[in-house]
Every structure is written in structure tokens, then in C-alpha cells.
């Protein structure tokens, strides 16, 4: 197990280096620069600014310099937010995105798991068709359609929830619901399929034959195997929640990291773009590792293979 974790972490390092290199040169080869705004700044100031941030050096030297600082854990200063370091901005904006993501995931699990289990236990009855049809609708309703609809219903007509902003906890409800419902639908489908597969297994029959109560069979024996596909999905789900939050943040005007990332890319704020991409990549790689570990705990077969 230790060896598995160790090798995965070792593998992550070259991956991150490749991402850093790719993003570095991609941003630099793109037309435009951080100080080419519509408001023309005097040439001398521009030159001075560029030399201050080391932009006048040959490209390859800049790259080496950035990498050297990166290995020390320094993401550099932001070009656009004067006086701010990239890591400071991330530390400020990421908790917002994280809150949104965690709330959405909780909503997705709270709705999706019971719906899937109920559907699997009542296969081919109304209690199967109803939640599964709703899930299909949920899958096909993109967040940027659902979000405005929810705003229209709950803010414009019913006037019970705030339409946008990020000031108090009611502001959290609509965005998390918008983001969470899609994943609830997906999780419901996965749970149903996983539970149906598990309920057919011999060990479930054995448990039933031994006289275990129905609830014990479900909660103690079937859920463990039935939830495996859901656990596997959690890795991509989290990655999706991160990128999904770009849209949610732009619909509901939430000052999260996604909004900073897109603004930074538009402004050619090189260090900010690089820092955000690397931060996201590390996060996703780490979460995937976590999911693999969780899977190994739940599934004895996968444990042996690793």
C-alpha cells in the first residue's frame, strides 16, 4: 500500500512539470501581453514594468527562473493585482469555490444515493421509473440552463432566495443546488446500476438465506459493493465540480477561483494563469489518488492488484 502511494506521488511530479511547461509556453506564444491594455501606457513605463517582472529576459531564461521559483514553492507576483502574490489570491478565492463544491457534492449525495437505492430495490415499478426519468432530465439540463431557471422561479417570481452575490448563507443555496442536481442525477444512475449488480451476487443470497433482516442485507452487505461505482465516479466528479464552478460563478457572480482564472487568462496575467492551472492540476491529481485509495479499502480485489 505504501509503495502504491509512493509511486503515485512520484508519478505526479513529472506530470506537473509537463503541465507547467506546456502552460508556460502556451501563454507566452499567445498574442498580446499583460501590459497591452486599451489605455496606452507610456513606452518607458511599459519597459520598466516589463523589466521589473523579468519579461525582458530571453524566453528560455524566464522559463528557468519560473521553474526555479516554482520548486521553492513560489508562484510569483500577479501582474495585474499589484502588490499581491498569486498564492495569496488563490488562498483568498479558493475557499469560496471549495465551499460551493462541497455543498454541491453533499446535495448530490443526499439526493442521488437514496434515489438510486430506492430505484434498485423497486426495480421496474413506479418507484424506479419516476426517479430514473427525473435523473435523465437532470443529466440533460445543463447548469447554465438550470441556473437561470432557478433564479427566475425562486428569486423573480417567488422572491424567497437572493438571485446572486456572495454575502450570507442563503446566497449559497441556489448555486449549490444548480451544480449539485446534475451530479445527483449521475450518482442516482450509478447507484442503481451498482446495487442491481450487487444484489444478484451469491453472497447476498447467502446473507438472506442465513436470515439476515432486509435492512441488514442492504446496509451491511449490498451497499459496500453497490457503492463502488459511485466512489470511482467521485474523482472525475470533483474535477467536474471544479470546472463546473466556472459557469456557476459567472451566473451567480461569485468571487471564486474560476472567475479569477478566466479574468487572468483574458488579461494575460501570466503568473496568475500558471499558478491557477498548477493549483487545479495538483488538486485533481491528489483527489484521484484519494479515490483510488478509497476504492482499495472498499474492494478487496483492487487491493490485491495494487
Amino acid at each position: 500500500m505504501k509503495k502504491f502511494i509512493f509511486s503515485r506521488i512520484l508519478q505526479a511530479i513529472p506530470t506537473l512539470l509537463v503541465i507547467a511547461t506546456l502552460t508556460f509556453f502556451m501563454t507566452r506564444f499567445a498574442p498580446g501581453g499583460p501590459f497591452d491594455s486599451e489605455k496606452a501606457i507610456p513606452e518607458e513605463i511599459k519597459v520598466k514594468l516589463e523589466s521589473h517582472f523579468g519579461l525582458n529576459l530571453p524566453l528560455f531564461e524566464q522559463y528557468l527562473l519560473y521553474m526555479k521559483n516554482l520548486l521553492k514553492g513560489d508562484l510569483g507576483p500577479s501582474f495585474k493585482y499589484v502588490g499581491w502574490n498569486v498564492s495569496e489570491i488563490i488562498a483568498l478565492a479558493f475557499p469560496v469555490s471549495l465551499t460551493l463544491g462541497v455543498c454541491s457534492l453533499i446535495i448530490a449525495l443526499v439526493i442521488g444515493l437514496p434515489a438510486g437505492i430506492i430505484a434498485a430495490l423497486h426495480k421496474n415499478t413506479i418507484w424506479d421509473y419516476l426517479p430514473m426519468s427525473l435523473a435523465m432530465i437532470g443529466l440533460c439540463l445543463p447548469t447554465f440552463v438550470l441556473g437561470p431557471i432557478l433564479i427566475l422561479v425562486f428569486s423573480s417570481y417567488l422572491k424567497i432566495l437572493p438571485p446572486l452575490g456572495w454575502y450570507s448563507w442563503p446566497d449559497l443555496i441556489l448555486p449549490s443546488l444548480t451544480l449539485g442536481l446534475f451530479y445527483a442525477a449521475y450518482i442516482a444512475r450509478l447507484t442503481r446500476a451498482g446495487m442491481l449488480e450487487t444484489l444478484k451476487q451469491d453472497y447476498i443470497k447467502t446473507a438472506r438465506a442465513k436470515g439476515a433482516s432486509p435492512s441488514r442485507v442492504i446496509f451491511k452487505h449490498a451497499l459496500r459493493g453497490g457503492l463502488l461505482p459511485v466512489v470511482t465516479f467521485l474523482g472525475p466528479a470533483f474535477a467536474g465540480l471544479v470546472s463546473g464552478s466556472f459557469i456557476i460563478e459567472s451566473i451567480f457572480f461569485i468571487p471564486g477561483l474560476g472567475k479569477f482564472f478566466i479574468t487572468a487568462a483574458f488579461n494575460r496575467d501570466y503568473t496568475m494563469v500558471l499558478g491557477t492551472v498548477l493549483f487545479y492540476a495538483t488538486l485533481i491529481i491528489f483527489l484521484n489518488l484519494l479515490v483510488d485509495l478509497l476504492q482499495a479499502i472498499l474492494d478487496p480485489k483492487a487491493r490485491q492488484e495494487s
Binding site: L152, A239, S250
Partner: protein, 286 residues
């Protein structure tokens, strides 16, 4: 004893698909949407970018079937024109990912051994990258280039396609008809494209059907963030964005493009599920 005529795999699948009412309905709906998008712009007396400032925010009616927007542009013309773009992006980008994924997967599975494990390792690593972020970055940095959009989306979606193709190739590689082809001394190229390819297409087609809605969704996301097609052109994603901004004054502006978009995704997903059941009865859901 009655003589039984042979039935091809494709024919069998088609018969099974016809039995699936939801999938057939989806197929008809998708064909209907495609035809509407193709011919709709010429059916409407208005152009998609024709402004009429005397008729802004007109509700749906006889003159303008779907109403008009803030510049008095006919929404029916815009929705059908947007449909062309969205469907074209969906189909073409899927094709790009199909070609890359199938070639990569087939090579990897057919060669086997060290090459195979190296190639699959690369796919594994690419899988762990935050691709949506890269696509967004690419679109922001290099401008809203249509060709780039296809390449970027296609490059994201080929990974799963490669995995599926490889698994199929590994299964089929040992089959007798491949051994026979090899014994006849056919070249690798001929074995790959004439004998192997047609037989592994089933699962690939199913996955491609499910990729189209995924791609359309990604295009819509980009358009929604303002990175997709440029005004006055429209795609369903950009129309939904415009509609969402003005939905208090004119709810039909988000209703029609949203409805078209969601129902198309809906039908493609059902069609994909139906095709899976039809092409591979074993894997069908209970």
C-alpha cells in the same frame, strides 16, 4: 426442417433497436431537429442577423414564431441557425476524436507488449489532467477560432475512445479470422483496416453517440463563457447566454434555445443507451 437465412449483426441490432420505443422516438426527434436546423433558416422570412428596432422583445406569435430579441432579430431564425453550428461542432469534433482514438487504440492493442503499456500509460496520465481548463485557456489565449475549437474538443474526447478501441482490439486479436488473415500473409495494414476495424465498431459507435452530446455541452459551456462563436452568429450556448441575461423581460429568449438544446441532448443520450442495448444485448440493463 426449415431453412434459416443468416442475419447480419447490423440487421439484428436494427431489429432490436426498433423494439426500443424510447430510442426510436429519440432517433426521429434527432432527425427532425437536424432537418429543422438545416432548412429552418431558409423557411423563415428573416435572416438570423437581420435587426428590426421597431419590433424588439416581441412575444411569440404569427409574425415571429419564437418571438424577437432585444435587437428585433427573429428568434426562430437564430435558433435554427444556432442549431446548425451546435450540431456541426458536435458531429465534427466527435469525428476528430473518433479518428484519433480509434487509430491510437488499435495501434496500441494490436502491437501489444511494451509499446501497448507505454501508450496506455500516456493515456492514463492525460486522463488525470484538467482538460476543460486547458480548452478554456486555449480559447481565451488564441481567440475564438472555429478550427481550434474542433481540435481542442476532439483532443479532449479521444482518450476514452482509445481505451474502448484497445480493449476491443485485444479481444479480437486472438480471434480465428484474424489468425486466418495472418496465415494468408496479409499486411498489417490490411488486417487492421479491413478485418479488425469493422468488427470493433459496435462499442465505438455507441460511445460516439454519447460523445456528441458531451461535445455539444462543452461547446455550449464555452459559448456561455463568451468563448464560443462570435456575435452576430449564434449557437445554442450563446443564445442561452443572451436569453439568461434578458429572461426577466422576455422569458421566451431562454425557453426556445434551452428547450431545443436539452431535448437534443436528451434524445442523443437515449439513442446511445438504446444502441448499446441493441449492439450488445449482454450488457443491457435489467
Amino acid at each position: 426442417m426449415t431453412l434459416r437465412t443468416g442475419s447480419s449483426l447490423g440487421k439484428d441490432a436494427w431489429i432490436r433497436l426498433q423494439g426500443n420505443r424510447m430510442a426510436m422516438f429519440s432517433l426521429f426527434f434527432f432527425v427532425f431537429v437536424t432537418i429543422t436546423s438545416l432548412f429552418g433558416p431558409s423557411l423563415s422570412p428573416y435572416d438570423y442577423d437581420e435587426q428590426n428596432l421597431e419590433k424588439v422583445f416581441e412575444a411569440p406569435g404569427v409574425d415571429h414564431w419564437f418571438g424577437t430579441d432585444n435587437l428585433g432579430r427573429d428568434l426562430f431564425a437564430r435558433v435554427t441557425h444556432g442549431g446548425r453550428i451546435s450540431l456541426a461542432v458536435g458531429l465534427l469534433a466527435t469525428l476528430v476524436s473518433l479518428v484519433i482514438g480509434v487509430c491510437y487504440g488499435m495501434t496500441s492493442g494490436y502491437l501489444g507488449g511494451k509499446t501497448d503499456s507505454l501508450m496506455m500509460r500516456i493515456v492514463d496520465i492525460l486522463y488525470s489532467l484538467p482538460f476543460t481548463i486547458f480548452v478554456i485557456l486555449l480559447m481565451v489565449l488564441f481567440g475564438r477560432n472555429f478550427i481550434l475549437l474542433f481540435i481542442a474538443i476532439g483532443a479532449v474526447e479521444w482518450l476514452t475512445m482509445a481505451r474502448i478501441t484497445r480493449a476491443q482490439t485485444l479481444n479480437l486479436k486472438r480471434a480465428e479470422f484474424i489468425e486466418a488473415a495472418r496465415a494468408l500473409g496479409y499486411s498489417h495494414k490490411r488486417i487492421l483496416f479491413v478485418h479488425l476495424l469493422p468488427n470493433l465498431l459496435g462499442p465505438v459507435i455507441v460511445y460516439a453517440t454519447l460523445t456528441v452530446p458531451a461535445v455539444m455541452l462543452l461547446e455550449a459551456v464555452l459559448s456561455f463563457l463568451g468563448l464560443g462563436v462570435q456575435a452576430p452568429m449564434s449557437s445554442w450556448g450563446s443564445l442561452i447566454k443572451e436569453g439568461a441575461e434578458k429572461m426577466d423581460a422576455a422569458p421566451w429568449l431562454i425557453a426556445f434555445p434551452g428547450l431545443f438544446f436539452c431535448l437534443t441532448l436528451f434524445s442523443l443520450n437515449f439513442l446511445g443507451d438504446g444502441l448499446r442495448d441493441a449492439l450488445d444485448p449482454k450488457s443491457s440493463k435489467d
